[in-house]
Amino acid sequence: MGDGNNTSGRGISANNTSSSGNSEKPEWLQQYNLLGKIGEGTYGLVFLARIKSPTNRGKCIAIKKFKQSKDGDGVSPTAIREIMLLREISHENVVKLVNVHINHADMSLYLAFDYAEYDLYEIIRHHRDKVNHAINQYTVKSLLWQLLNGLNYLHSNWIIHRDLKPSNILVMGEGDEQGVVKIADFGLARIYQAPLKPLSENGVVVTIWYRAPELLLGAKHYTSAVDMWAVGCIFAELLTLKPLFQGAEAKSTPNPFQLDQLDKIFKILGHPTLEKWPTLANLPHWQSDMQHIQAHKYDNAGLHSVVHLSPKSPAFDLLSKMLEYDPRKRITAAQALEHEYFRIEPMPGRNALVPSQPGEKIVNYPTRPVDQNTDFEGTTSIQPSQPVSGNAVAGNMGGAHAGRNGSVNRPMPPPPMQRMPQGMMAYNFPAQAGVGGGMNPGGISMQRNMAAAQAHQQQQLRRKDPGGMTGYPPQQKSRRL
């Protein structure tokens, strides 16, 4: 994507006007219509925007704005970590980075992604609160298979995600990638091949409900198995529409020890034993917090009744292998993809949302809510957020909607006749170089550096080819604008 005619687009533009006022619209932002905020986290904010340029008109983009790093020590390591990983990876089930914008004035980075309309958090919530029935088997299986497929790709390239949870698993809306799963948010991801320091030095990872027991027990070194635990939790949640281990987070301590979370796990899976998990004795909290951990004795595992699966079903077998206590015995993504569960009917498909069999009921999922009242600087006005479209809000579209129409573009007022900061610059990335050779330390396959040297030619080619990737947004949305 990007503007092929803009010759200075990728240049390093000279600029010394700092964007002091919120009303100033950075130059790169002018290629988008900003629709509103769709996400917020410790890293910063995510905005939904629509491309104005004719080549990709109407295509939606998610723009992730990173907060400045607090310590004042240069560019945010979180942002850099995410960009460098996304630059290396290219897979159907991993979110695609299409642009990086730099605001020199405050050294902040903006990442532009292909927009995915749904995420597992919203899909699960919709079923739980609105539809009141389980997600159909085909959809559950297809979502899980694609999630594992993306994860297998990451793990085979030595990347651990470390923050898998339903809200980070996106699903594409209408278009030629409809119903395709995209793993997102690589802010905590890292390469775990031959780290210079223990991974635990990066601090606490993974949202507590999806956090693997070895992390909860204070393991200094851990592996890609932490992601598989999270996948197990997500699988169960897709089946039951409720988080499997819903512990209360002890926020006061920097200590990773979370007694309530462990208790929730033990209650369902039974206490781990040294017999089943020999290295358990080496984990810091297993030793030091013995009394707390062992306060309640749970030994009969009730997982099958919680997830309403027969203990003999392939689905249950796969789930219990993902929730294996010993990380070394836990099933890997590659093994899981080969599991019997995926070989029996219904077979998983590419469009997870629309089953191929006729007669199956299609659920219209609400798209992710868009907060139109937060401007690009992150300043929020007091109005509550509203989903941008979808059946869920059809009923109250009338009054509230009409009144709000004018505020859709509020974050981007008509350009005032003042100097635009031009310190922003964009990067349209060339076709992603494969990870093959570089990721294969002993191997002698790909000439990675030559690939980098050819990047520009590739990019030229790619600019001419808009590609067949345009995800057309739903009609409803277009009408609104």
Partner: protein
């Protein structure tokens, strides 16, 4: 575009800038954005004192000199060689995009070390780094984003050091030595590590993947130690690698890597003095011009349209 063409393109652009503006160095502002020099008016009588640009050989010497400095800095901080190798690759790739006349290699060298620490998850603050070598750390922070941009955010680097260890293990197995305690292999590994150090200073890391660089280092080390029949070992890996390369292609690559090492030349002190003098004049640091330029120079975005913004396309 081959390496030589890239070096030439950066050199040519800097020379053109010099002709147009009388100086080549770009300035980085506090916010990390770049500005080009403002054109200066020269009278014809001034012609003989015009600064002389570096040629591509002189640029090469400059890079070689600072790559060695980079290593010294990393050693002074006892950084693991993974960081040193990453920093070195950043430095080399940066100067595929820019001429040394445009950005002072000392600043870039320090910024590359800082960035490598950040990327390899071994964070060292800019202040700490600056303090350790008595340099202004603000320069590092100013250049950080420029370096990432110039590298196009391709920041993950695989150095050959780990490949050497992997191949040694494999060779032990190949030779039927499985105790991992064999002194001959240990000596060869150590020699190969030193060979990798040499290779990393050449252009070879731009041209060959880490596995091949490691094999070239091991082949040289084996010549010294005579541990195994290397030719036979290469044949065994080619067979295993699903015929992606045949033996002659692989040997050709290893020979080309060896040639890079043989060609490598460290500039003499005299050369460096000469180059530094030229470079200073390119940056407008000659005493004659100092005051004049200070006034003329100001940040401009107009000029950024005239000078190619994107070095690699030029």
């Amino acid at each position: 575009m081959g390496l030589v063409e890239k070096y030439k393109a950066a050199n040519q652009r800097a020379i053109q800038t010099l002709e147009k503006y009388g100086t080549t160095q770009m300035e980085v502002d506090g916010d990390g954005s770049l500005s080009y020099p403002e054109p200066i008016v020269r009278d014809t009588a001034d012609k003989h004192s015009r600064p002389k640009p570096l040629n591509i050989e002189e640029e090469q010497s400059m890079r070689v000199f600072y790559e060695n400095k980079l290593r010294e800095v990393c050693s002074a901080f006892y950084f693991p060689n993974k960081i040193q190798a990453t920093a070195l690759i950043y430095f080399k790739r940066f100067y595929l995009q820019w001429s040394v006349m445009e950005h002072h290699p000392k600043n870039i060298m320090l910024t590359c070390v800082y960035a490598a620490c950040k990327i390899e998850e071994n964070h060292v603050s800019a202040e700490e780094l600056g303090k350790g070598i008595s340099q202004d750390h603000q320069v590092i922070l100013n250049y950080e984003m420029v370096v990432y941009q110039s590298l196009e955010f391709d920041l993950i680097v695989y150095a050959p050091y780990r490949s050497v260890v992997g191949f040694i293990n494999d060779m032990e197995e190949f030779s039927g030595v499985n105790d991992g305690e064999n002194q001959m292999f240990k000596d060869m590994q150590e020699t190969a590590r030193v060979e990798v150090d040499k290779i990393m200073l050449t252009d070879a890391p731009h041209l060959f993947p880490p596995g091949q660089l490691a094999l070239a280092a091991l082949r040289s080390a084996n010549r010294m130690h005579g541990v195994l029949d290397f030719e036979q070992y290469l044949r065994s890996i080619v067979m295993r690698q699903n015929a992606e390369h045949n033996i002659s292609q692989l040997t050709e690559s290893l020979n080309a890597i060896d040639a890079c090492v043989t060609k490598y030349k460290f500039p003499t002190e005299k050369d460096m003095k000469h180059i530094n003098r030229k470079l200073k004049s390119c940056w407008g640091h000659s005493s004659h011009d100092d005051k004049k330029r200070e006034k003329k120079r100001h940040k401009s975005h107009k000029s950024s349209n005239e000078v190619p913004n994107e070095p690699s396309v030029a």
